[in-house]
Symmetry: C2
Subunit: 158 residues, 2 copies
DNA sequence: CCCTATTTAATCGTACACGATTTAATCGAC
DNA sequence: GTCGATTAAATCGTGTACGATTAAATAGGG
């Protein structure tokens, strides 16, 4: 099963972008953020900002640590992003009373008010994909498995 | 089939990150670039740079315009990226003789030499995903359909 | 042939991602 | 309790993505 491309250089021609699932994932992700850019324009949210708001809508407010675990993004990505949400008046940031290391992030009324548009955006993206909801859920399940496999393989090297 | 969340606010609770295929795509794409960061470290390539090299390995050299169409990335992303590949000695950039608007991009010997490692990286990513090749191809097909649907929907607004 | 419309790269500004490092708070073994 | 280890955010540097704009080259109708 192990292929040595050095011994069979002609096999390299079989490895093309067209058959690489990683490129399909990468390219679909770019298409997702492009799509949401349009549909979220009225809210002023970018797609990653929208994901943070999703977590806050679901939880009603939580810590940056929890957002980081949920979205698999680290503090160096989330800190400036959440600060921007704060300046837009959509969230409030404050240190946690019990543990001052933690940052509480809570949606404001203005932030909560965007939830309707947010839900409509999610439905619009499902519709635009041209796939049935059932197929999309199957796709989602497979992607989750791939993501877990890749992240475990990446972590294993540490 | 059309849902008005304003009339049924309780339905918004059904719209969660867990069921959103867009988040699965986005998050899997982050996992892909994280995984390749490790495996491509020895080549000094980032994942997007690797994709450009894939196009050059397949074509033997082409124009920026063709790379842009193949990868669905525009010149504002590709120009600095390909300039970096040039300073790393992996590609040569030159204006096309027939049409001076076009930029020819050709792999150097050093660039061609990375192809073996590049093919091994693609195989490693397939293995790390934990899915069979057949499943990965099915996944790829579905993602292609979703990407096309999303990009058409995004373009339709123009 | 000329002049406008189109096409292609490049440039600029904004916003992610993430590795590496720093700082401050908490934990825990003793 | 104290101090070294751990944890959480923030900071910094590098490298994408992409909309908007610019500059240069080509195409094409009169």
């Amino acid at each position: 099963m192990k292929i040595d491309f050095r011994d069979n250089p002609e096999l390299m021609e079989q490895v093309t972008l067209d058959v690489m699932p990683c490129f399909a994932i990468y390219s679909a992700a770019n298409a997702v953020t492009r799509f949401y850019r349009r549909i979220l324009a009225e809210t002023g949210l970018t797609y990653p900002q929208y994901l943070v708001m999703m977590v806050l809508w679901e939880t009603g407010g939580t810590t940056m640590r929890a957002i980081s675990e949920r979205l698999l993004l680290d503090s160096s990505t989330l800190t400036p992003l959440i600060k921007k949400l704060e300046t837009q008046g959509l969230v409030a940031r404050s240190r946690n009373r019990e543990d001052e290391r933690l940052l509480d992030v809570v949606p404001t009324d203005a932030g909560l008010a965007l939830r309707v548009t947010g839900c409509e955006a999610a439905m619009a993206m499902n519709a635009a994909s041209g796939e049935a909801l059932e197929e999309l859920q199957e796709l989602r399940g497979r992607l989750d498995k791939v993501r877990i496999g890749l992240n475990e393989a990446t972590a294993r090297v540490d």
